[in-house]
């Protein structure tokens, strides 16, 4: 390919180099395409190459692991229960630690060390969470009090968006789900008729997926992708669990308990929130057909699951499990279709993971009693190997097709 430098200004070539690097980082183009484009204009990859990318990834990995260790070490250090210091002094030390950690991360990020700075800011988030728990410890607040996780989430999520930090976003969203789980525990939700629990967590999954889809600002696209992926994984996990007969047997045994009113209100509120979030996601995507189809599919799945759970149309635990296995397969097919047509890798991956998990679980449910245990494990191992090869091959084909569609949409 002949180089083309005539007629292009140095400013253009400089901007082109930085733009090509950004396209490669965002996976809009491959490494090979990036080198080809730059070579066409007589540019080399002296400022960026594969080894530099590898060093950058290692820096992020080491920094993140280091940040985790610093955060955990802070918790252990302060968990020795200081004696002799008044409450205000301990609070001041904790606030000081939060300010210091964040300040160091800020300075590093601004002094051409963005990746280490990001890791330090992640560690600062852990220090903040530790400060909340340790403040609770100072006043003998029980570790099972849901207020602690709520306060952690209130601080972590805005920081995650302020610095577009995906580790902090994961921590914040997990904290949010953990808060809800602890809150409903005070209402006896985990002891009572836990058939209502799936509706609650399906509602959360629809909220997360919709919030992720609604985030169409370029600067926050990765945050939206991660939120959507977490929602998809939560949805898959709940649907997967509902496919087990044992769950429905135990739900039937607990059917005599009356759920707490607050728990019922919270489930209803989550369903309403899910509908609102799905509508906002469709609006943010200009009511495009793929967005409407996905939102409709999610809300329909939530409605069908809720109807089955609340109306009890089926007779036995096996029938309920079968119904949710069928729903799981429908979600897989819908997810694959939308993923391929809409160029959404996350949908394809989540659908294949759910499919693999359901097939694996049902294989043992159906054949476990008919074969000798050793033959079952050998057979399962061979099945996994073959299944993994088939899934990876089909995943690659689907992803290639999805990426082609994603690039054509971007153009």
């Amino acid at each position: 390919m002949a180089a083309t430098t005539g007629g292009t200004s140095p400013e253009f070539r400089q901007q082109l180099q930085s733009e090509v690097e950004a396209w490669r980082r965002d996976r809009l183009i491959t490494s090979k395409a990036a080198r080809g484009i730059l070579a066409r204009y007589g540019l080399s990859l002296s400022g960026w190459d594969v080894s530099a990318a590898t060093r950058a990834r290692l820096a992020v990995l080491f920094g993140t692991l280091g940040g985790l260790l610093v955060g955990l070490g802070t918790v252990l250090f302060v968990a020795s229960n200081w004696e002799g210091l008044p409450h205000f002094a301990k609070l001041a030390l904790l606030v000081g630690a939060v300010l210091l950690a964040n300040s160091i991360g800020f300075v590093l990020s601004r002094k051409n060390h963005p990746r280490i700075g990001a890791s330090v800011i992640f560690a600062a988030g852990l220090v903040y969470a530790a400060s909340v728990f340790l403040t609770g410890q100072e006043y003998n607040v029980s570790v099972t009090d849901s207020i602690l996780l709520l306060l952690c989430t209130i601080g972590l999520l805005p920081m995650a968006y302020a610095v577009t930090s995906r580790p902090l976003l994961i921590a914040g969203l997990v904290g949010l789900i953990g808060w809800y789980g602890m809150l409903i525990d005070t209402w006896g939700a985990w002891r009572g008729p836990h058939a209502l629990l799936p509706i609650a967590f399906l509602g959360w999954s629809v909220v997360f997926i919709s919030v992720g889809d609604a985030e169409n600002r370029p600067a926050f696209r990765r945050m939206g992708d991660l939120t959507r992926i977490l929602g998809l994984e939560l949805l898959s996990f709940v649907i997967f669990l509902l496919g087990f007969t044992e769950f429905w047997r135990s739900a039937g045994e607990a059917a005599g308990y009356q759920p707490a009113v607050n728990f019922i209100y919270s489930v209803a509120a989550l369903v309403v929130l899910a509908v609102v979030a799905a509508a906002v996601a469709c609006w943010r995507r200009a009511w495009a057909r793929p967005a409407l189809a996905q939102a409709s599919g999610l809300l329909l799945a939530l409605a069908v699951a809720s109807a089955i759970i609340l109306i009890h149309p089926l007779g036995s635990a096996e029938e309920y499990a079968l119904a949710f296995n069928a729903l799981a397969l429908l979600l897989v097919l819908g997810g694959l279709f939308l993923g391929v047509t809409g160029g959404r890798e996350s949908l394809i991956n989540a659908s294949l993971i759910l499919f693999g998990a359901v097939v694996f679980a049902r294989y043992f449910d159906f054949l476990g009693t008919l074969f000798d245990r050793s033959l079952v494990f050998v057979g399962a191992g061979l099945l996994l190997l073959v299944g993994g090869f088939v899934l990876e091959s089909s995943r690659r084909r689907l992803l290639v097709h999805a990426r082609r569609r994603e690039v054509s949409h971007a153009v």
């Binding site: 918790v75 409450h87 963005p114 909340v132 403040t135 410890q137 306060l151 610095v163 577009t164 930090s165």
Partner: protein, 184 residues
């Protein structure tokens, strides 16, 4: 990672406000409260990330009632010597701690029978409203964090040998101040 300094420092300010606000609310309870002493029996698990802590239970942690799970209840306490108890022979209610739906239930009592303190709690395991059953209630005073290694000494105390000093404000909110072994 991209960020703007303004949003970053706003988020840091929020984190600082949350920590200070949380501590400040608890400090308000401590400063606007009366101090009472309860007796309890501990169980001491070890929490890896928070050092040693003692799990505490009281005579009114389990009460027969027909309150649903999640209901807010109030337990009146009367001073008997150095400790406060949930059963008052002055009222003639027997040995069962009383559960009220609100603090204003004390208003209807004669002055001589007024409780000396009222604790606010939440029913964590309730009973069907048609009949009574043993309800579990939490008051936020079920944990006490001790310096590392000192939990064993408290664990060895049994049968009411532990005394828990708590601060109770005018709304029934309580915080544990101290746990000690009662003099024999």
């Amino acid at each position: 990672m991209r960020f703007r300094a303004l949003y970053f420092w706003l988020a840091v300010s929020l984190e600082v406000l949350v920590v200070l606000g949380f501590g400040g609310v608890k400090e308000l309870v401590l400063r606007n409260s009366q101090t009472i002493v309860l007796t309890t029996v501990p169980v001491d698990p070890r929490d890896l990330f928070r050092g040693d802590y003692v799990a505490l239970r009281y005579e009114f942690s389990s009460v027969r009632c027909n309150k649903p799970t999640g209901a807010t209840v109030y337990v009146p306490l009367w001073r008997r010597g150095d400790v406060w108890v949930a059963t008052s022979p002055r009222i003639g209610g027997g040995e069962q701690p009383m559960l009220w739906d609100s603090m204003s239930a004390a208003d209807g009592l004669p002055r001589a029978l007024q409780p000396d303190a009222i604790l606010k709690g939440k029913v964590t395991v309730g009973a069907p409203q048609a009949y009574e059953a043993a309800c579990q209630i939490r008051f936020g005073i079920e944990s006490y964090f001790v310096p590392e290694g000192q939990g064993r000494e408290l664990e060895r105390a049994r049968n009411g040998q532990l005394r828990v000093t708590i601060a109770v404000d005018g709304f029934g909110n309580a915080i544990v101040r101290n746990v000690s072994i009662a003099p024999s």
